[in-house]
């Protein structure tokens, strides 16, 4: 189910600007309630797009998060 959770967080980062702002200022805290593995959580905190992609994060979500996407 982790692939689902990873993409749920990515989708929320894309669509929910308040959550995105919290993530930008303190990613660990913003993700405290998310059901992620340690590896996934670490990739989010480091904002390692390649790793998130390897862990099943959708490329189209990764590239389209306002202010965070890598184009």
């Amino acid at each position: 189910m982790s692939r689902y959770e990873t993409n749920v967080v990515l989708y929320r980062l894309k669509k929910d600007s308040a959550f995105r702002d919290r993530f930008k200022s303190n990613p660990g805290q913003a993700l405290a309630g998310a059901d992620l593995s340690d590896e996934e959580r670490d990739a989010f905190v480091r904002w390692d797009l390649r790793k998130l992609n390897e862990l099943g994060g959708s490329l189209h979500l990764l590239v389209s998060i306002p202010g965070l996407g890598a184009h």
């Binding site: 600007s17 992609n53 959708s58 490329l59 189209h60 590239v63 996407g69 184009h71």
Partner: protein
């Protein structure tokens, strides 16, 4: 008896600023050339006076989330909104300033959905999904200031594995052709997206297109030879960055055995741009 009076496929980020910023001046120039071709194609489309325009495109996880990803989805209802997204990323800025609402051709959409399900296609239906750049960038470029024909938006899941097969997309297109033939309407069909681009970040060839693959598939379309295209596997589409070719497979099914004419093909390095028309008249 209805007929398909116009058929075309084209790349769907028709937005010079996006390519200017992300690829550079040659990217901007190339997409401007493509836009001029698509505008000319739009004059042919409007002179064919379709009662409806079926637009086959993919979602970029703008509309559908991982909560539910339909393999193939027909937009029903009476009208459809332009997607409005705060902080839209560059390629959805192509939508800024466009009309906020478009008519849906409700009878054709319902026919495609209902007879499709009866025929064994488990199409999803949406009454509320809005349209992103994959639909409206080509539609607005084709029509310019002219009124847009009532739309039948049709989504293909091009990006979230497991995708529908090329063969299944082609079969869905054959179904659309049957609905049109049995109905009273003159219908235009366009497919959008591509050509090869956006390979996954973890691949070595990050950000590069596959021109050899694209030239091969364009030749097959020009020859009206759809069998090798329907045999393309998910792996081949993924490795060449040609996910969005699945949209084109629906169109190919709708117009088969018509041959394509390549109106534009440009190799940008990061994506190959194209616009094709099919001889359906």
């Amino acid at each position: 008896m209805g007929k398909i009076v116009y058929a075309a496929a084209m790349s769907h980020v028709l937005h010079p600023d996006y390519y200017g910023q992300n690829v550079g001046p040659h990217g901007r120039r190339m997409v401007e050339e493509l836009i001029a071709v698509v505008r000319a194609m739009g004059r042919t489309l409007t002179s064919a006076a379709p009662d409806a325009l079926v637009v086959v495109a993919d979602d970029h996880l703008n509309v559908f989330s991982f909560d539910a990803v339909p393999a193939l989805c027909v937009r029903v209802g009476r009208s459809v909104n332009r997607m409005i997204q705060a902080d839209a990323i560059e390629f959805d800025r192509a939508l800024d300033g466009l009309p906020e609402r478009y008519p849906v051709h409700e009878d054709l959409a319902n026919s495609i959905l209902e007879t499709g399900v009866q025929a064994g296609f488990d199409f999803a239906a949406s009454w509320s999904a809005p349209l992103d750049h994959a639909f409206l960038s080509p539609v607005s470029t084709l029509y310019g200031d002219r009124p847009v024909a009532p739309l039948v938006p049709f989504w293909v899941n091009c990006f979230v594995a497991p995708q529908p097969t090329a063969q299944r997309c082609f079969a869905a297109g054959r179904h659309i052709a049957r609905v049109v033939a049995e109905g009273p309407w003159n219908v235009a069909v366009i497919a959008t997206g591509g050509l090869s681009h956006f390979p996954e970040l973890s691949l070595a060839r990050i950000g590069q297109s596959d021109p050899a693959f694209d030239r091969r598939i364009l030749k097959l379309m020009e020859a009206g030879d759809s069998e090798p295209l329907t045999a393309l596997t998910a792996k081949e589409l993924h490795e060449s960055g040609s996910h969005e070719l699945l949209n084109w497979m629906v169109l190919l099914g709708a117009v088969s055995p018509a041959r394509a004419r390549v109106r534009f093909f440009g190799e940008m390095g990061r994506i190959d741009l194209a616009a094709l028309e099919w001889d359906v008249a």
